[in-house]
């Protein structure tokens, strides 16, 4: 369009001005309504930097894992957790569903959580344990620092409130999952405090009963796109869990994340959980801003935690918070 104007003999800038005037005259209302959401998708890197620095992270209570992630699970990004069965993926999801609700004065994002369960591995009793430990942890901090804000926040941060703000959906097959993800934007608009969407696990409904693999790839890509839009529009973190599958090589077989190569592009951050003898390890496999590293972690009765090195001296506060840790170390020896 500019070129046709230039043919007349005016400069490109003058042509652009003319075009803009014409557009405004013709489109008027249409641009105003359609451009609403489009405008927020365009910004400079400086604006983005300010946003990123102000954004909170959802901590995992395992400081080593938080460190390699750069602070915790990031909002507005999709994080994928892959691992063999029993390694702790659902544990971390339940931990995050509790941690997202930590009040801001304790370093949390004070949000709510949506938990979409396709495998039926969500155990309420376990969430109760994790939430109780989290509340206790905050209470200890409040007692130590004795600040008004902390004590006030504790009044609303209780076991009942944590459980009431975890919105649970049980999807039995991939159609229910697709339907639920189509309805998520409306749900999130009604519940604007949601800062975490967990889909545990994304692989299970797609791994059987699918003869048409191209349909599967298309549906998965569609899901990934919708989740990215949800993550950005509602400023929430999206956490997905994936299974591992065996890739049969020529001489050996390796465990790789399921759902194929193209699914690997869906998540921004990829964590792989695996075993090394009896130690659970988490590897940051893919991240745009952090380097690849592996750390050990533990699953205690209180939830997802660091591995405590035996040489660390425990002060009174620590023993109160994690009374089970010492007995276990003795047992392991």
């Amino acid at each position: 369009m500019v070129l046709t104007f230039v043919e007349i003999g005016i400069s490109k800038e003058e042509a652009l001005e003319a075009l803009q005037v014409v557009r405004q005259e013709c489109h008027g209302d249409a641009t105003r309504t359609a451009g609403g959401s489009g405008a927020t998708r365009k910004c400079t890197a400086l604006e983005l930097l300010e946003e990123e620095q102000a954004q909170g992270f959802i901590i995992t209570f395992c400081s080593a894992l938080d460190n390699i992630l750069g602070g915790g699970v990031q909002l507005t990004k999709i994080t994928e957790i892959c691992g063999a069965p029993g390694v702790g993926k659902t544990q971390l999801c339940m931990q995050l569903a509790v941690d997202v609700q930590i009040p801001e004065c304790f370093g949390g994002v004070a949000g709510e959580a949506v938990f979409i369960d396709t495998e039926g591995s969500f155990m309420v009793d376990r969430v109760v344990e994790i939430a109780t430990a989290c509340v206790r942890h905050c209470q200890l901090i409040a007692e130590a620092h004795q600040e008004e804000d902390n004590l006030k926040a504790l009044e609303t941060f209780s076991l009942e409130s944590i459980l009431s703000h975890i919105y649970y959906f049980r999807c039995r097959d991939y159609v229910e999952l697709l339907a639920q993800v189509y309805l998520l934007p409306d749900f999130l608009s009604e519940h604007s405090k949601v800062r975490l969407v967990v889909v545990d696990g994304i692989a299970f409904p797609f791994r059987h009963d699918f003869e048409d693999l191209s349909l599967r790839t298309r549906l998965l890509n569609g899901l990934a796109q919708q989740l990215i839009i949800i993550a950005n529009d509602h400023k929430s973190a999206v956490v997905l869990t994936n299974q591992m599958t065996t890739r049969i090589g020529q001489s050996q077989s390796t465990l790789v994340p399921a759902l194929g190569e193209s699914w690997g592009h869906a998540a921004t951050v990829r964590l792989i959980f695996h075993w090394d003898n009896s130690q659970r390890l988490a590897t940051l496999y893919k991240s745009p801003s952090q380097k690849e590293s592996t750390i050990p972690y533990h699953i205690t009765s209180h939830g997802f935690r660091d591995v405590q090195p035996p040489a660390v001296t425990q002060n009174a506060e620590d023993t109160e918070m994690n009374p089970r840790k010492r007995p276990r170390r003795e047992e392991e020896k």
Binding site: P85, Q91, F169, Q180, D186, H208, Q243, I299
Partner: protein, 314 residues
Amino acid sequence: MAAKKLRRARLSEELCERLSRYQITTCQDFLCLSLLELMKVTGQSYYDVQKLLCKVSRACAPKMQTAYEMKLRKSVNPSSAFLSTTLHSLDKVLHGGVPCGSLTEITSPPGCGKTQFCIMVSVLATLPVSMGGLDGAVIYIDTESAFSAERLIEIAGSRFPTYFDSDEKLFCMTSSVHLYRELTCGAVLNRIMSLEEEIISKKVKLIIIDSVASVVRKEFDTKLQGNLAERSNFLARGASVLKYLAEEFSIPKSEMLGPVTAQFGSMGHPLGVLGGCGDLLGLEMINRWVFSSVFGLLPAPSGSTVVTIVLTCC
């Protein structure tokens, strides 16, 4: 839910007519199409198709519940949450016993006591609630012909001599254990699919499959191409149906996988030991118990630490 007809999703008659001409009659058909295809078959604009998608999604999406509501519902009926195994240390570690409403997998090298355990649990399930049982019938799907009715009576008589004091009581118990001998994968899958009616009519409270690995190993040779995919397909389908049944009817289900495959770690190491088929294919079992000949039972369910308990089989 997926097979729900579009008519029931409250779409207009003429729209349903139009869609049925393209063979789109269920919610599943509708939701699997891309936006462009939907626009073509419905003849409507982008925004209208979005609204239609929401309408159809609402018809098949699951209901929301908060974790708090789930907890309240559980606390109303605490005794029905678990089936106690009557092994106190095991029950303590498992926070109650075999959980109702979910799938439990038991794996071990041969000869450790899996079938014995299953027979014992069958007896327990038929006991009245006051004695810690489920007061219901048991469905026992046997693929190895390892179930012995005489052993069942022996266990019942020795374990609960005061309760099973008459032959009548024993016969009553044995008549509530329904045994199905299935010797092929296809037969097992068919049996699982048809369980829903049996559960309701016979008031079943426990389902045991002994064992999945033996029948799978017989039929699928992983060295042959394509068999691995078929095998995982079969297992995943079976597992998802079982999970649905477990949750719908709130019954504990014990699925047994057979001996450990040698390539996946040594037997002495509990956490390196993987079940016969489960880990190879990434099957998610909610509770996995590993029997080992040295250590006894090492449960590794989600949420608990791994603890060793010594069991004796007698």
